[in-house]
């Protein structure tokens, strides 16, 4: 059963364009020029109950705008939208009780108080019965291992600790859908891993439908079976995550630090990204990465080496340039 359905969903923003300088500001006082920006365009999407979907795309691709429309925060300019059987922008309380949204920079926690105080507020706001509240709270506290920080003033917590509590607040009322906008942004590797584990468990045990936007490939790869790639408001890819990465994530990003000043050269084909006397960053085709490593170890004295997945932007660009069309 589809819990989310959109058809030709479009959102266009009007943006004020000001000419530079004081003269431009004065001119803008009397006559204004507006630019129309299409943030989401003809977007059709269906999501089944219990799915865990990744929304990926570069900055300004339209991911957050889509989430804002799905949660009712903003009204679409055109198209059809239905979330849990509701038109989101009506903002009915019965609809709002069915989802939760966590946005990196929009905390629901009260910073001056402890997380326990915010939990109590949410218990009342969502009319959560006492036994259900207790059960959920105990479950999430154990899952995250946050017992020690529940009575600590939120503003003194680290970003990772705050994000864990933010997720607990969001899930206390057992929402059917959880929207997550960059939940792991700025977190260290350990916290990212813990959050991924938590989300996976929530999706599997509670059957919560999760829509996740992230810049981190690892988030998408390890959590989402299906992913949707957006660029310039348009859907470029909608399908199996493994297939997407197999087909389009063709390179690895390698960063090498040398013990002494050195200039890296190689017969193996690579794309240089950054070069300094002590450090080189490059992109190499996956199948050539092993060969490159051997070459590096033999010919250079290395201080450090790191191999990462290539940035999301490159993947999107490759899909965009792939004239064979959008995969399903």
């Amino acid at each position: 059963m589809n819990i989310i359905e959109t058809k030709n969903l479009t959102k266009t923003f009007q943006r004020f364009q000001k000419e530079p300088g004081l003269k431009g500001s004065m001119k803008g006082l009397f006559k204004r020029k507006y630019l129309m920006k299409s943030a989401v365009s003809d977007f059709t999407l269906t999501v089944e109950e219990g799915e865990f979907i990744g929304l990926i795309g570069p900055n300004g691709a339209g991911k957050t705008t889509l989430i804002k429309m799905l949660t009712g925060i903003i009204a679409p300019s055109n198209g059809e939208i239905s979330v849990a059987g509701h038109y989101p922008n009506k903002l009915e309380n019965s609809f709002k009780r069915q989802y939760a949204v966590v946005m990196g920079q929009k905390s629901q926690l009260f910073f001056e108080l402890s997380a326990n105080d915010t939990f109590l507020l949410f218990k009342e706001l969502y009319n959560i019965p006492e036994d259900e509240y207790r059960k959920n709270l105990d479950y999430f506290i154990a899952l995250f291992g946050v017992t020690d920080i529940l009575d600590v003033q939120v503003r003194t917590l680290s970003l990772g600790e705050r994000m864990k509590l933010e997720l607990i607040v969001a899930l206390l009322h057992n929402p059917k859908i959880l929207f997550l906008d960059e939940p792991t942004i700025g977190l260290d590797a350990v916290a990212q891993k813990q959050i991924r584990k938590f989300l996976k468990e929530v999706n599997e045990t509670k059957g919560t439908t999760i829509i996740l936007t992230s810049h981190y490939m690892e988030d998408i790869k390890s959590l989402c079976k299906r992913c949707v790639v957006i660029n310039e408001g348009k859907k470029l890819f909608d399908g199996d995550t493994d297939l997407l990465f197999k087909k389009y994530q063709t390179h690895k990003k390698v960063t090498v630090s040398f013990v002494q000043e050195d200039h890296f050269t190689s017969e193996i084909d690579f794309i240089p990204l950054e070069k300094s006397p002590y450090k080189t960053t490059l992109l190499i085709k996956k199948e050539l990465s092993q060969e490159l490593l051997k070459d590096l170890l033999v010919r250079y004295e290395l201080d450090d080496i790191s191999i990462e997945e290539e940035d999301i932007g490159n993947v999107v660009e490759r899909i965009y340039n792939d004239k064979s069309g959008v995969s399903e």
Partner: protein
């Protein structure tokens, strides 16, 4: 109702976190009483009465009205909503399963309840120290009526500030509206000077508007004056509150669709 009480409690708890702020607020109340004592002593000089007020009734009026105006924390609603809309953080209130006006009103009641408690303690101590003969009425009807005016009046101010706040959806910036409102309100509520000192025609005109009943009339009732204005006052103020219910609902419904949530 439990939702509102929890929000009120939460804001009350938030205020209690800042100990220096509490101390500064108490000192502020004290300084107002001291200032009033010095100013009105100088104004009265040898005179027994000014515009029907004795020195002690004038001082009582001033302390009560400034106390009531301090209780009115509604101005925060306008500023908070405005900055949340402009910063894109208003979305966090939109996704909660509670009417946003109700949420902001409950928040303000929480802040007012905190000030009521601490200012009251400070005021009582200082009235005792200065040995001000407080001209409080013993008439229960007038006391209860004054309490009604204060409650309905504060509710009206919250509605007004909420309305100004949500105008940010339309105008983008409402700082000037809020500043003009603030200046006008401190004058027309009688917080600066008793309205009785103004020409009768102006006072009669002010009776049509709600501001007359927010600080001035309850202050006068508490010192045992203006009893005959209770019924018309309650009706006028209640009508304003009732009128603002659909106005705010309609405005929010119409204007919120302009929200683009920038800043997220």
């Amino acid at each position: 109702m439990r939702k509102d009480i929890e929000i009120i409690k939460l804001i009350f708890k938030t205020q209690l976190v800042w100990r220096f702020d509490i101390a500064a607020n108490v000192l502020f109340t004290i300084s107002k009483i001291v200032f009033a004592y010095i100013v009105w002593s100088a104004v009265f000089g040898e005179k027994e009465m000014i515009a029907g007020f004795t020195f002690h009734t004038m001082l009582s009026y001033y302390i009560i009205s400034s106390f009531l105006s301090q209780l009115d924390m509604s101005e925060r609603i306008g500023w908070d909503i405005s900055s949340a809309i402009r910063g894109g953080t208003f979305s966090k209130f939109m996704v909660l399963p509670i009417n946003t006006e109700r949420y902001f009103i409950a928040r303000t009641i929480g802040a007012s309840a905190f000030h009521l408690l601490f200012h009251l303690i400070a005021a009582v101590i200082w009235i005792f120290i200065f040995q001000i003969r407080f001209a409080f009425t013993g008439d229960i009807y007038m006391l209860l009526s004054a309490a009604c005016f204060v409650i309905i009046g504060l509710l009206f101010m919250m509605q007004l500030n909420y309305m100004l706040g949500i105008l940010t959806f339309q105008f983008g910036n409402i700082d000037v509206f809020l500043m003009i409102k603030s200046t006008l309100v401190s004058f027309i509520t009688g917080t600066l000077v008793p309205l009785i000192l103004l020409p009768a025609s102006i006072v009669a005109f002010m009776r049509v508007f709600p501001f007359y009943y927010i600080t001035y009339l309850p202050s006068m009732l508490l010192i045992g004056q203006n009893r005959d204005e209770i019924i018309t006052g309650i009706i006028t103020l209640s009508l304003w509150v009732l009128a603002f219910v659909p106005v705010n609902k309609l405005l929010y419904h119409r204007l919120r669709v302009r929200f683009d949530g920038v800043g997220i």
